[in-house]
């Protein structure tokens, strides 16, 4: 009778389908296990990203524009040493005195960052008598709470780590450059050697080992302050900074909620 034949056929097809799914799942688990065997990680063994919350703050009044941070970052992170790829850089703002006859209290603003500030700044850009005010601003990834770069990544290669860093997975990034376009602060670039997106990682390999980021390590004036919000040390400089200063963030109108805080920022800084 037709029905018994078709029922048998239906059951056998179903059985074959279930067997196929089971084999496939087993193969997937096996593949994952084999791949894990090939990956030997030198990551610090006991580091749990959910137990830390890294924080970076700047005191603009203390930055002297020496550029040691830029150099240290390039050394520490193997950043290409050309003039157009920086994970961190220094900007100098020179605000001139108002032109004679002008109504404004402040004059023209000039901004420069020769080679990211790595070798310092030339003295002769503007004659000293024309300068009303000048200062240096260190820049890097602003560790946005609502990172537009993470939002923009089509594959999940850049992400907010649980401990507050915004990282790029260089083995997954396809190099489309969308995140670079999406970052309002210009802190990302495409590494010409790896052809993937790259940015400040807070020296992730250092902070997971209890060290400070290289730029903080070499800053001579403590303009760069780094700490762990979940594990503050005694006399934590982050807490002192927060208590003492009124803080600013860059481009607050964009809604990115940067976690990097600046003290003593001028209105001209973008």
């Amino acid at each position: 009778m037709n029905t018994s034949l078709s029922r048998r056929r239906l059951l056998s097809t179903l059985g074959r389908a279930i067997a196929g799914v089971a084999t496939f799942s087993a193969a997937r688990v096996a593949k994952a296990a084999v791949q894990k065997g090939f990956v030997s990680s030198q990551a610090p063994k006991n580091y749990d990203p959910t137990k830390h919350r890294w924080q970076m703050v700047f005191d603009v009044d203390k930055c002297i524009g020496c550029g040691h941070c830029v150099d240290a970052c390039k050394t520490e992170n193997n950043v290409p040493r050309d003039q157009s790829h920086f994970r961190t850089w220094i900007e100098r703002y020179i605000i001139k005195k108002p032109a004679p006859g002008s109504d404004s209290p402040r004059g023209e603003v000039l901004v420069d960052s020769p080679n990211g500030g790595m070798n310092g700044f030339p003295d002769n850009l503007v004659p000293r008598e024309e300068i009303l005010k000048s200062f240096f601003v260190p820049k890097l990834c602003n560790l946005c709470e609502h990172s537009p770069c993470v939002q923009a990544c089509p594959v999940g290669a850049t992400f907010d780590s649980p401990d507050g860093a915004v990282l790029v997975d260089p083995n997954y990034c396809i190099g489309c450059g969308f995140c670079v376009q999406a970052c309002p602060y210009g802190c990302r670039f495409i590494n010409p050697d790896t052809r993937t997106a790259e940015k400040c990682t807070l020296c992730y390999h250092r902070i997971t080992r209890g060290l400070k980021p290289a730029c903080v390590e070499v800053c001579p004036t403590e303009a760069r302050i780094f700490g762990d919000l979940k594990n503050p040390v005694p006399d934590d400089p982050i807490q002192a900074f927060i208590q003492k200063n009124k803080v600013f963030t860059l481009k607050p109108h964009l809604g990115t909620e940067p976690r990097v805080l600046y003290a003593n920022l001028d209105k001209e800084v973008r």
């Binding site: 003039q83 157009s84 790829h85 920086f86 850089w89 900007e91 603003v109 000039l110 901004v111 420069d112 960052s113 080679n115 990211g116 820049k139 537009p148 993470v150 939002q151 923009a152 990544c153 089509p154 594959v155 999940g156 290669a157 997954y172 990034c173 396809i174 190099g175 489309c176 450059g177 969308f178 670079v180 376009q181 999406a182 970052c183 309002p184 602060y185 210009g186 802190c187 990302r188 670039f189 495409i190 790896t194 052809r195 993937t196 964009l254 809604g255 973008r270």
Partner: protein, 415 residues
């Protein structure tokens, strides 16, 4: 020579004067443009696809009989360009071998992640399906009458369905109608998401605004219809057949309407920007009048929009007083101007958006190289490839002897 003039000159003239310098202040990482000519070509191609499809849908859904002679050509054009659409993206990626990740782990907050799905949906569920239903009867007929490789191809394309009885054909019509109705928003999505890729970037004031997807969609429609005009007239000229005048007049009419809407929306964008005068308006005004003077004001504005508007407008207003042979010239010239103007528009958006700094204090310069991963040569090849594919399609699917039965003629024969 001042840098802003240098940068607008064609690459071949520019090459000896190249100096990658910066005016004012740009963030150090912005100095090199990362989205170059390939990313100009990609929205251009998908725009042409969407526009050609919209023109075809005017026949199917809105029953514009006059456009029927160009219906099949429009669909084939859309397919030829759609096949080539992923190529500029693949060439541009730093790691094209990882491109499958976009479909395997798509990050749904990213408009770019939608590319794989929108593209797959559009090519499979809309375009190929529509073409198959349109051509199914011809495939059956041709598979029986042609031999050799082409015969095998037609047999494959029937997908094993040989039923061409009137009820089956009626079902084809109904399905096709339904698919075109779905296809119109799909075409909007195909190119709208590209506009959204730019429109979603709040970091860039030139890109990140609400009108960007709308502008992209309408300029896509304009460019697609213009391309169909150009190809239709070129094909008839090659085959030494007269173009259907009613078809050309209808195409010219819709081209004019689409151009009007597109020009209105783009002008609105500028009026709004200048009126609101946000912080970025200073640097953008300098961009438009400086580095983008030739590509924006001359190529996109005057040649790509104003002149075709006048030409097409006169054919609409003074149709009776302008002879057909003059109107044909007008349509052809307008089509070419528009096709060039829309390419200029993509250039102005993609390259222009990277020529100024996000610090709003300075400008980059763009070095267009000839050879290289994103050079002129690659772009020209990628722009020429769809035409080559289309030529193959025309050879296979658009016999010049009228043996096939395009949609409009079949409908007319029934009536």
């Amino acid at each position: 020579m001042p840098a802003d003039i240098t940068n607008a000159l064609p690459a071949i003239v520019q090459a000896p004067m190249l100096l990658n310098h910066v005016d004012g202040y740009v963030y150090p990482n912005e100095q090199n443009l990362i989205w170059s000519t390939l990313i100009v070509v990609y929205p251009y191609i998908t725009g042409l696809v969407a526009g050609a499809f919209i023109m075809a849908s005017l026949v199917r859904v809105f029953n514009v009989r006059a456009l029927a002679p160009a219906y099949r050509l429009a669909l084939l054009t859309a397919l030829a360009f759609l096949i080539c659409a992923p190529l500029p993206l693949l060439f541009h990626l730093g790691h094209p071998e990882r491109c499958y990740e976009v479909m395997m782990t798509p990050h749904v907050t990213s408009p770019m992640a939608m590319f794989g799905f929108v593209y797959a949906w559009y090519i499979m569920a809309v375009l190929l399906l529509e073409l198959w239903l349109e051509y199914r009867r011809d495939f059956v007929v041709w598979s029986e009458t042609t031999t050799g490789f082409r015969g095998i191809l037609y047999r494959l394309l029937t997908v094993g369905v040989y039923d061409v009885s009137p009820p089956a054909l009626r079902l084809d019509e109904r399905l096709s109608h339904a698919i075109t109705i779905i296809g119109i928003p799909s075409a909007f999505l195909l190119h709208g998401y590209v506009g959204f890729i730019f429109g979603s970037i709040k970091a860039n004031p030139w890109w990140g605004n609400v009108l960007m997807p709308i502008i992209f969609i309408f300029s896509a429609i304009v460019s697609g219809i213009a391309l169909c005009v150009f190809i239709y007239m070129a094909l008839n000229w090659i085959r030494r057949r007269p173009s259907d005048d009613a078809c050309l007049d209808a195409m010219g009419k819709f081209l004019f309407y689409a151009l009007t809407v597109d020009a209105t929306v783009e002008t609105l964008d500028w009026i709004h920007r200048l009126y609101q005068a946000e912080e970025s308006v200073q640097v953008l005004k300098q961009l438009a009048s400086g580095k983008l003077f030739y590509t924006l004001l001359i190529m996109q504005g005057c040649l790509g929009t104003l002149l075709p508007f006048v030409l097409l407008g006169s054919t609409q207003l003074f149709r009776d007083r302008i002879a057909m042979w003059v109107r044909r010239r007008f349509y052809f010239c307008s089509a070419l101007l528009i096709v060039g103007g829309v390419l200029a528009m993509r250039w102005n958006v993609v390259i222009g958006g990277q020529l100024f700094s996000k610090s709003l204090r300075g400008f980059n310069s763009f070095k267009l190289e000839f050879a290289g991963q994103e050079g002129t040569l690659v772009s020209l090849v990628l722009l020429a490839l769809p035409f080559i594919i289309l030529a193959v399609f025309i050879k296979l699917f658009l016999p010049g002897d009228g043996k096939s039965t395009p949609h409009g003629e079949a409908e007319a024969a029934k009536a």
